[in-house]
């Protein structure tokens, strides 16, 4: 191979030299602190408003409010939290999955709200569990994490039920999380209903959101300490 441009050759030489110098300048290795990253994905945003809630608020705002509330609770409990959005902006589904995957997350939770149904709807992807491979297809990467996503769903389900909330569990196609390489769930807040099926709290009611956020934080805390939960990153 002949280098036609001397600058290119110079950059190549420098690039080759830099890694060789790094070990000499780096500080002595220390024990890395255990990272337990939680990714909170407030669905929708920007022009993608999501559902129109009965209260008049848009789903994207209710999702963001819950994400901010849950982030505060998790940060206070010592978790490292990565959010896919902090304001009213549109983020592509692929970009959301990229953020989650780059964060090396141990838990990924996508937050939704709706005016239909009752209580909290928990969804894991309906992909068939698969063994992990070195290179996984982008659209079905979640398959390798499916078993642990179902385990996480169980932990969240019991925590929400313990908090006195109505929960329904299901497995459906979820394009938003099927590219995520972490135990992932979609949590959809429906209206809270009493025995007569009348709405007692809308999905954007602050007290209701606080109750759900507290139960989710407790579930993630329990999930972190679960001895049956294997390594966070590798399935």
């Amino acid at each position: 191979m002949r280098w036609s441009n001397p600058t290119t050759a110079l950059f190549l030489v420098l690039a080759l030299r830099v890694p060789a110098q790094q070990p000499q300048q780096a500080p002595p290795p220390s024990t890395p602190s255990p990272r337990f990253v939680v990714v909170l994905d407030a669905a929708h945003g920007g022009d993608d408003t999501g559902a129109h809630l009965s209260s008049g608020q848009l789903e994207k705002s209710a999702n963001l409010a819950l994400s901010v509330r849950l982030r505060s609770l998790l940060t206070a409990r010592g978790f490292q939290v990565v959010t896919t959005r902090e304001n009213d902006t549109f983020i592509d589904l692929n970009r959301r999955a990229e953020l989650a995957n780059h964060a090396n997350a141990a838990v990924c939770i996508t937050l939704h709200a709706t005016e239909s149904g009752s209580g909290i709807h928990l969804f894991a992807s309906s992909l068939a569990p698969a063994n992990p491979t070195r290179f996984m297809p982008w659209k079905t990467a979640q398959a390798a994490w499916e078993t642990r996503s179902l385990g996480l769903a169980g932990a969240v389900n019991s925590s929400l039920a313990h908090a006195g909330l109505t929960v329904t569990l299901g497995r459906i196609p979820l394009p938003g999380i099927e590219s995520m390489t972490c135990p992932a769930l979609a949590v959809e807040l429906g209206p809270q209903r009493d025995a007569d099926r009348k709405v007692s709290a809308e999905p954007d009611t602050p007290d209701y959101q606080a109750q759900v956020a507290s139960a989710l934080a407790a579930a993630i805390l329990e999930w972190r300490s679960d001895p049956n939960r294997t390594g966070a990153r590798q399935p």
Partner: protein
């Protein structure tokens, strides 16, 4: 210098290519007109003269996120496509009823057409792909939410499987074109396998 015979050959091939392109365009246009004509003459409702038959409708319930099979008696036409449309129309009529546990306005008219095609890669087994064309009004008025939209899609797939065992795959169109989601959540770009939607008695998807 290009030999004369090569120039002649090039011109002939060029004319042939243009001719075939024109013919292809004509065939495509003709097929499109035939499709539209078929849509116009398709019955908009199951004829009352048809004998009443039993059909299994897999009905969604928002309150517990379940799909429950129910047997209903309704007049069904002989043509499989029109038959599938009549069955789905009845399902959506149930959803439009005031006492429905999965409220969606629109009713039977929300199913514009159901096309039954040979499933790609499984022609020898007789498997079929159902293309369900919904109206834009139905999609616009559908309640938005992961649960509500998924239940609608899965109940349609499960109802087709319950009444037409040869239908193994379902795709959705809205006003004749592909649409990313039903009402912001359920993915309509994918092919749904009816085997994955069919519930056991009263189970959750």
């Amino acid at each position: 210098m290009i030999p004369r015979y090569q120039k002649v050959l090039f011109v002939i091939l060029l004319i042939a290519a243009l001719g075939m392109g024109f013919k292809l365009w004509q065939l495509r246009d003709r097929a499109h007109k035939r499709l539209l004509a078929g849509q116009t003459i398709a019955p908009t409702a199951a004829p009352v003269v048809a004998p009443a038959e039993q059909a299994t409708l897999v009905v969604a319930n928002d309150l517990d996120n379940s799909l429950v099979p129910q047997v209903h008696s309704l007049p069904l036409p002989a043509d499989p496509g029109a038959r599938a449309r009549a069955v789905l129309g009845k399902l959506l009529d149930l959803y439009a009823a005031p006492e429905s546990t999965h409220q969606i306005p629109g009713g039977a008219a929300s199913v514009d057409q159901v096309f039954l095609l040979a499933a790609p890669g499984a022609r020898e087994r007789g498997d079929q792909l159902a293309v369900v064309n919904l109206t834009g009004t139905f999609a616009a008025s559908h309640p938005a939410g992961l649960e509500a939209e998924s239940l609608t899609v899965l109940s349609i797939c499960a109802t087709l499987r319950a009444n037409f065992p040869t239908i193994t795959e379902v795709r959705f169109l809205v006003d004749g074109v592909e649409r990313p989601t039903l009402a912001g959540h359920a993915d309509l770009t994918r092919t749904y396998l009816t085997s994955e939607a069919a519930p056991e008695e009263g189970t959750k998807p």
